[in-house]
Structure formats: structure tokens, C-alpha cells
Amino acid sequence: MALEDRDDGADELVVRARGGDGAAWARLVERYSGLLWSVARSYGLNESDAGDVVQTTWLRLVERIDGLAEPAATGRWLAVTARRESLRVARSRGRELPGALADTVRRSADGRTADGEACGPERVFLARERLGQVAAALEALPHRCRHLLRLCAVAPSHAALAAALGIPVGSVGPTRARCLDTLARRLTR
């Protein structure tokens, strides 16, 4: 799918950034910060801690950028790093969220391979009123569903999404479908 092509794009951006291309780095940051931020927020971190997680994740990539023998899977690496940093901060803050989202997905996964799910890239103009409806419906969802849909919506690729959730790509499907269905029903009420 187109999503996978975009993930390959991340790898290319890293190679260019390593060569000193600041614009490529900026594009990588703009493409992935939404996912990293969403991961941190799904761990219940406040804005300050979430900002730390995003910044630390980028700094980790900078640290290893020269040593990257194989820049493949940069998107996945970013998501895993953000999750690990979020977990560390959440623990230091005494929160008990870690892994909750992944557990939910695991419990409801039935082993089927999910087909082309996740995250359409096209932009849709939203009337303000409609946006408010969607926001209200999302806020009424159980927080695990809300965060799952959020990560699906902002992940630039399947691989990054799976890494952000900490589960295999194929396991996301059933839970995602159920959460999306609940959201759609709330919107048509």
C-alpha cells in the first residue's frame, strides 16, 4: 500500500539527514512527531513529559545516525523508542498504564491476518461542526479505543503502528475494527 511507500521514505530521509540535509531531517520530524506525541499521550503523560519523550526520541536517533549501517525500518525504530521512553517516564511518575493498550489488543486479537487497515493518507476538509462531533464521539469512547484509533490515524505506516502498539501488525485488525465501528455508530446516532 501507499503507506508502506511512505515508510520507505522515512529511511531515505534519514540517509539524507545523515549527509547533512537539514530539510530532510525537518520533514522526518514533521512526519513522525504526531505519532511519537500520541504514543507518549497514550501512556497518560502530561504535555511536559510527552514533550520530553518526543525530544529524547529524536536525540536518540541523532546519537545513532552515523552508526546506522542499515537505515531500514526507521519509522518502526522511532515508535519503539518513543514507547520505551514513555514507559520509563510513566514508571518514574508512578503511573500504572504501561502496556494497557497492547493488552487490550492482544486479548481481542483472534489470530486472523488483518488486511489493508490503517490510516488513510488523504486530507478531508472538515466543517467545524463535524469536527466537534467527531471529537465528542472520540472522547466518549473507552480510552483504550480512543488511543488505538488515534495511533492508527497518525501512524505513517503499518510497521510504525505495530511498533507503537508493541504487537504484530496482524493483531491490530479486530480491535481496530471494533473501535472504529463503535465510533461510526456514535456518529450516526
Binding site: 539527514a17 537539514g22 531531517w25 525537518a26 520530524v29 514533521e30 512527531s33 504526531g34 506525541w37 500520541s38 499521550r41 504535555e47 510527552a50 514533550g51 520530553d52 518526543v54 525530544q55 529524547t56 529524536w58 536525540l59 536518540r60 536517533l61 541523532v62 546519537e63 545513532r64 545516525i65 552515523d66 552508526g67 487497515e117 490503517a118 490510516c119 488513510g120 493518507p121 488523504e122 486530507r123 478531508v124 472538515l126 463535524r130 469536527l131 467527531v134 471529537a135 472520540l138 472522547e139 484509533l149 488515534r150 492508527c152 490515524a153 497518525v154 472504529l180 465510533l183 461510526a184
Partner: protein, 152 residues
């Protein structure tokens, strides 16, 4: 409505509800500028809490954390004490060399502090603003090492 359309709306809703702050994006963009070409990276291998007075590199005081970073052939130990806006850092590089040591800082008070390690590799920074920090070592043989970024 197609699924893609619905996800586009979810994305737009979260963008309105909880956007990535502009300063977080700006910090990410500027991160590439913190690269030290050619420097070896010493990753964090241990982060232990210590009781006040519990035998750190410096006896007594209020040592809160004992950090250990490792790079190939080189270890950096740093005891971090104090609370509030400033920390005291006392550490050493092993094997000991009289390296130039720089504290790199991000956050409320970005900047750098510099010290020179003694022959045993020991160094100290008595007043380091809290925030993300990394140590940079310029070794006598011309090589350099940076420690992985960590929040004080």
C-alpha cells in the same frame, strides 16, 4: 463514509484536541544540530537510585542517582545529587584520562558547562540546571565520546 475518510476525521479531531506543541516540533527539528560527528556514543547501562550518604563516588551529601554509561573501551560514571532547579554532578571516566569535559544542556537553561578531568579522570559540575543533559569528552588522543541524553 469510507474508513479512510473516518480516519482522516479522527486525525483532524486529535489535531484540534491535542496538537503537538510548536516548541516540541521546533526542538525536534533542531536536534540534528546536536550531532557530534565522529564521537563515540556511551549508552546508559545503569541508572540507580542511591540513599543519601550511601557511599557514592562522594561520601555523604544527597546522592540521588548513580548513572553509568558505556562505550567500547570506556566507561563513564556520574553521581547526580541535589533537587530543585540545580543538580550537582560528580563523575569520572574510566580508564582515567585528563579529558576536556563538557555538559550539554537542553530545556529551560540550554547551554554548556566545561571542566577538565584530572589524571584519574575525575570531574565535577557543582551547579547544573535540570533538564536534558549529555556529557561530551574530548580525549587526549583526539577522539571524543558523548553520553546518551538523559533527563536530570
Amino acid at each position: 463514509m469510507t474508513e479512510d475518510e473516518l480516519f482522516a476525521q479522527v486525525r483532524a479531531a486529535f489535531h484540534a484536541l491535542d496538537p503537538v506543541p510548536g516548541e516540541v516540533l521546533a526542538a525536534g527539528r533542531s536536534a540534528l544540530g546536536l550531532r557530534v560527528p565522529g564521537a563515540g556514543v556511551a549508552g546508559l547501562v545503569r541508572d540507580r537510585a542511591r540513599r543519601p550518604g550511601g557511599g557514592g563516588l562522594r561520601g555523604g551529601g544527597t546522592a540521588l542517582r548513580a548513572l553509568t554509561f558505556a562505550a567500547p573501551g570506556r566507561v563513564v560514571e556520574a553521581d547526580v545529587s541535589g533537587s530543585g532547579r540545580y543538580r550537582e554532578i560528580a563523575g569520572r571516566i574510566v580508564p582515567g584520562v585528563p579529558a576536556l569535559v563538557r555538559v550539554r544542556l537542553l530545556g529551560t537553561a540550554p547551554g554548556e558547562l566545561t571542566d577538565r578531568a584530572d589524571e584519574a579522570g575525575q570531574f565535577a559540575f557543582p551547579r547544573v540546571p535540570e533538564g536534558l543533559f549529555s556529557l561530551y569528552f574530548q580525549l587526549p588522543d583526539g577522539t571524543s565520546i558523548v553520553t546518551s541524553w538523559i533527563r536530570l
